[in-house]
């Protein structure tokens, strides 16, 4: 206990740490976050990469030099610009049908971001609701929900997803729904855990004892405490979803093969691996970059959102 005292003082004296006090305005909090972000360059790098992806997804038509769908058999199988025979016309080369790989990668961010964002939003909102019910109600409701949750979580996720995707068939909506649904349990588990923790700390009982109504308790007392852990989780889950989407695409189970997506590109590339390796290399690099950025950002968020970690940080 004595040791912590020292640390708390030391943080306050640097003036950089957000207090737990309620009376801080939102603006102040954002400012503090921004300062923390500026200090930790890896978090900033992660966020930058993520924003670039979102930007690419939104402005894909303006950013890509070619129509991603346009085939051009004369220009097909061009290696990237730095390889022998490469042209400035197609900086990352072209595929077996002469489509520009760079443009396809840019359009591919659309599928990835869409699946990641919508899938996580769905899992986030549904998972949080179910988790709140489980944690708040307790008893049988909680038991049933958690048994189901644990059951799903104990299945091999990829097999499970492949299985459903195979049944539902290829479409963007299906993919989003699959991830949105199958990712619910993890959000349920985290939400419920947090609610139980708050309960243990006497928060909820205290609010109840002064006669506050359930919605007030949930929105004013529980939700604000949930956001930190859930947003952190969402970052990691989004990165995972982008991976899984590409993986499904690789197996031919994601969006229809005509849509340019990173996974589909890899699936096509794989067939020409021995002769046109660049068809596989660059879409994969895009996935790596995405994962890298989101993980850096997620790690940073986790450190900042966890009050214990925050106190330990420099």
């Amino acid at each position: 206990m004595e040791k912590e005292n020292g640390d708390i003082t030391n943080n306050n004296s640097t003036g950089l740490i957000v207090d737990e006090q309620e009376d801080r305005s939102i603006r102040k909090k954002i400012q503090d976050l921004w300062r923390l972000l500026w200090r930790d360059k890896s978090g900033l790098l992660g966020l930058t990469i993520f924003l670039i992806l979102v930007f690419a997804a939104i402005f894909a038509p303006m950013l890509s030099p070619h129509d991603p769908l346009q085939q051009n058999l004369i220009m097909s199988r061009q290696p990237p610009i730095w390889a022998e025979g490469g042209t400035t016309e197609h900086i990352l080369g072209t595929d077996n049908l002469g489509r520009d790989i760079f443009s396809r990668i840019i359009y591919g961010t659309r599928v990835s971001i869409m699946v990641g964002f919508l899938g996580v939003s769905m899992a986030f909102s549904l998972g949080m609701m179910i988790g709140l019910v489980a944690g708040y109600k307790g008893g049988t409701v909680d038991n049933v929900i958690m048994t189901l949750t644990n059951m799903v979580l104990s299945l091999p996720y990829l097999v499970f997803v492949v299985f459903i995707a195979a049944i539902l068939g290829n479409s963007l909506l299906n993919v989003i729904l699959i991830f949105g649904f199958t990712d619910i349990p993890i959000f349920v588990r985290v939400t419920r855990g947090e609610v139980l923790r708050l309960r243990e700390e006497g928060y909820i009982e205290a609010a109840m004892s002064i006669g506050q109504k359930t919605p007030v308790i949930i929105f004013k007392h529980i939700m604000p405490n949930l956001l930190g852990p859930l947003i952190t989780l969402a970052t990691f889950e989004m990165s995972a979803m982008i991976f899984y989407e590409a993986g499904l695409g690789f197996l031919g189970l994601s969006v229809p093969p005509t849509v340019p997506s990173w996974g589909n590109m890899l699936a096509e590339g794989r067939q020409y691996l021995t002769i046109y390796p660049w068809m596989s290399i660059y879409p994969g690099l895009a996935i790596v970059l995405t994962g890298f950025g989101m993980n850096l950002f997620g790690d940073w968020l986790r450190d900042v959102m966890d009050p214990r970690m925050r106190l330990m940080k420099k």
């Binding site: 206990m1 004595e2 005292n5 020292g6 003082t9 030391n10 004296s13 640097t14």
Partner: protein
């Protein structure tokens, strides 16, 4: 008599992100063979850090320790602070042992209590497993754990709080150390268990003839236990005296405050002793004057200017204060 441990100018500093923490400042004290020295002071006054510094147990990367700690006993005369880690290992647990406040957290949860006793014997005395086990069983018996055979192969979590502390003591005394340092060993225990452990410590101290440093913030315990008392405040040793003299004639305002706060027999149950106003000093500054000055009722000008020297009041009684409490006026030297 030659002290078994002579600590001179001990300074310990921690480098943290927010700056240096001056946890121990210029501490001097001596420990004589076979005596019990109590170290008292409120939480955060640097009691634990002092002891950990002596044995090189602070995190190496962030702590800076300087000074001397001369350990001398039959055939040994070394400065503990000048030793390398591997040289220190010959003394730690062998000649000087430590027990901590929280026995549950101090014992390895995944090995048996017996093994944790035996390993000291094997390491320091070169026993083989069988001999170590036999001896460990005797030790368990010695510290008052019944059914040692069964307890030997139990894990720490299976013990009660009192038994765990007994086991810690068994580990500490396993190699018949010359010095036992006990860092608030009873603070986490129930009152009845506390007195049992105190009783045990006293008995073992007599039987083994160890010198004991007993850290506590319970002055009530000290009277019946210690020979001498060292009072710490804000990382400094403010007063040191034989126990009776300290009680009758405290010469540092902080000690006086502490004693004023001892529960008398009448209100024995009350545990919170310290009722001196104010809060402990900020250790982020190297001390430039008396550390107690903010809370001291007698403070006057020089107290804000210099660090008081260690005035000898009587033989063996020192106090770091510019104010002469007995005559109720500033010291003439000041």
């Amino acid at each position: 008599m030659k002290p078994i441990l002579a600590v001179e100018k001990l300074n310990t500093r921690f480098e943290t992100f927010a700056g240096s923490v001056y946890a121990v400042n210029d501490i001097n004290f001596e420990l004589f063979p076979g005596e019990i020295l109590a170290v008292v002071g409120e939480s955060g006054s640097g009691k634990s850090v002092t002891m950990l510094s002596l044995l090189g147990l602070l995190p190496g990367s962030s702590s800076r320790v300087s000074g001397r700690a001369q350990f001398s006993t039959a055939g040994i005369d070394v400065d503990l602070l000048s030793l390398s880690k591997s040289e220190l290992n010959r003394y730690r647990g062998n000649h000087i042992s430590l027990i901590f406040q929280d026995a549950l957290r101090s014992l390895n949860p995944v090995t048996t209590v017996g093994e944790q006793i035996s390993e000291s014997l094997i390491t320091h005395l070169g026993y083989n497993k069988k001999k170590a086990r036999r001896h460990a069983l005797e030790l368990l018996e010695l510290v008052g754990i019944s059914q040692p055979d069964k307890r030997y192969s139990s894990y720490p979590h299976m013990f009660s709080g009192g038994m765990r502390q007994r086991a810690m003591i068994a580990i500490a005394i396993s190699c018949k150390p010359e010095i036992l340092i006990a860092d608030e060993p009873t603070t986490a225990l129930d009152v009845t268990i506390q007195s049992q452990i105190l009783e045990l410590a006293r008995r073992l101290q007599r039987e083994l003839g160890m010198a004991v440093i007993w850290i506590t913030h319970d002055l009530g315990v000290v009277a019946g236990l210690a020979d001498r008392v060292l009072v710490m405040y804000g990382g400094t040793a403010v007063e040191i005296a034989p126990v009776d003299e300290l009680y009758e004639n405290p010469r540092h305002p902080y000690t006086e405050g502490l004693l004023g706060a001892i529960p008398s027999i009448a209100n024995k149950g009350i545990k919170r002793l310290v009722s001196i106003d104010g809060s402990p000093p900020d250790l982020f500054q190297a001390p430039r004057h008396c550390q107690f000055v903010w809370r001291c009722p007698y403070a006057f000008e020089p107290c804000w200017q210099n660090i008081p020297q260690n005035y000898e009041i009587n033989k063996g009684h020192y106090s770091k204060c510019f104010y002469d409490l007995q005559n109720n006026r500033p010291r003439t030297e000041v």
